[in-house]
Symmetry: C2
Subunit: 145 residues, 2 copies
Amino acid sequence: MSCESATALALKESGHRPTPQRLMILSAVRHTPGHVTVVQIVEQIKESYPFIDPSTVYRTLAVLKEMRLVSETDMGAAEAVYEWIGQARHHHLICRMCEGVTLLEDSHLDGVSAHIRQNHGFEADFDHFAIFGVCKKCGEEADNE
Amino acid sequence: MSCESATALALKESGHRPTPQRLMILSAVRHTPGHVTVVQIVEQIKESYPFIDPSTVYRTLAVLKEMRLVSETDMGAAEAVYEWIGQARHHHLICRMCEGVTLLEDSHLDGVSAHIRQNHGFEADFDHFAIFGVCKKCGEEADNE
DNA sequence: CTAGCTGCAAAGCGTTTGCACGATG
DNA sequence: CATCGTGCAAACGCTTTGCAGCTAG
């Protein structure tokens, strides 16, 4: 077991069964640095268990999302990306011209969530944010035209 | 003509034709306070021009988006929402429990875009942001359990 | 035994694309 | 007249759902 056992317990306590499929999905998300898509999860699990179905992955991710163990983000692409919550928070700057992705440390948004909490009583999910715009390179190239 | 003429000119100058359909789409987005969906735009235009096609709306919105005249936002629902850019900037706090939407003034994010620009040379599109979380009401109800 | 979970298949939905016709400059 | 834009219809891809069988508490 090891590091998954705690999560298995959390599943049980919230009334969900820690099935093999769920643990595999959990493990796939947990041990993938950065983002995972449903397709990637399926492919990874298929290596050891070829019968895994995308619908199972979607259903499990819905549970994990509800438990706030994984985050779902729409990066502008067709499919959503998922990520394990609990590691160093970070966000992404997505360039709308070259579609490049830059990392953004969480510290930039620290104050914002505090403001929002004070003024609106709203607890913002600042786990993982997708910010669109124009990156340095593309901005400079546009200036040179 | 009136307030649409300037935009028609902008279309022309960027190599696009200001067709009746485009002007109608433009007008629908321009004169709708808040968000519009593609379906809403189509329904609105159908009252005066029943032949309008969703694909035309999508194609036009792509042009307007590229020209930075409208913004596209994924609010977590199935369809994207569009909004005219240039009015008072604002953002939305979307509760993941009751799905209610609260308005957030732009001032909260003023400093953030400046930070991002300085540290990363990244010009963030802070026109319109969707921030997910838990609203005051739902947060309090959860505490009472 | 009862409830929950899975895989399969099919449907659902917003969005995109191919194409021929029409409009525009 | 050459280009661009349109409507129509079909395709597309991600996601969801219905269902029968299986599994676990």
